[in-house]
Amino acid sequence: GAGVSQTPSNKVTEKGKYVELRCDPISGHTALYWYRQSLGQGPEFLIYFQGTGAADDSGLPNDRFFAVRPEGSVSTLKIQRTERGDSAVYLCASSRYTNVKTSTYNEQFFGPGTRLTVL
């Protein structure tokens, strides 16, 4: 079946501009994650959705970053007043429902990422 898709694949913007990055998860996956990968580093967690709500946004670096998932499927990561330090690859991942009580943990499947360059 189709995997996680992300658009655009590349985004170049100027410092101070607003950008939106889109993620379309695997059909039926209720959990959705955003990560950021800087050059030479592993992915760093940003935010996690279970359904429509952000269950954990502890990884968002500051209030310029915001993400939504209004219908429990597609998610948009929004960055206001972009800075050069925001340049990175933004990865989206999805997984089937994860149940804390039963410790059922399903692996995350990643999209190809959006490469954001802030000039």
Binding site: V4, P43, D56, G59, L91, A93, T98, F110, P112
Partner: protein
Amino acid sequence: AQSVAQPEDQVNVAEGNPLTVKCTYSVSGNPYLFWYVQYPNRGLQFLLKYITGDNLVKGSYGFEAEFNKSQTSFHLKKPSALVSDSALYFCAVRDITRSGAGSYQLTFGKGTKLSVIP
């Protein structure tokens, strides 16, 4: 806090030889452990996971990993390397004893570049 260390930035191995990519972890409780592979201009692909049970886990493309609790390690192995295995490999951990929504996030290592030489 949970963390992952991949002590080698790069591993070179001749085609047909066995390969090992090292990973050690630190969590306050019990870990879930994962290996992902990243090819150029492509997303991370899941290789294998350790949740519970046998310490030797088998995954995709002939890879396996051994969980060693006493050494807090989860090294990735393959008996015979292929040139097509050349890629960036990431180890990741989740602390299953953390409660609350934050326990779902993965913490990744910095990655190890594997080069298989023909």
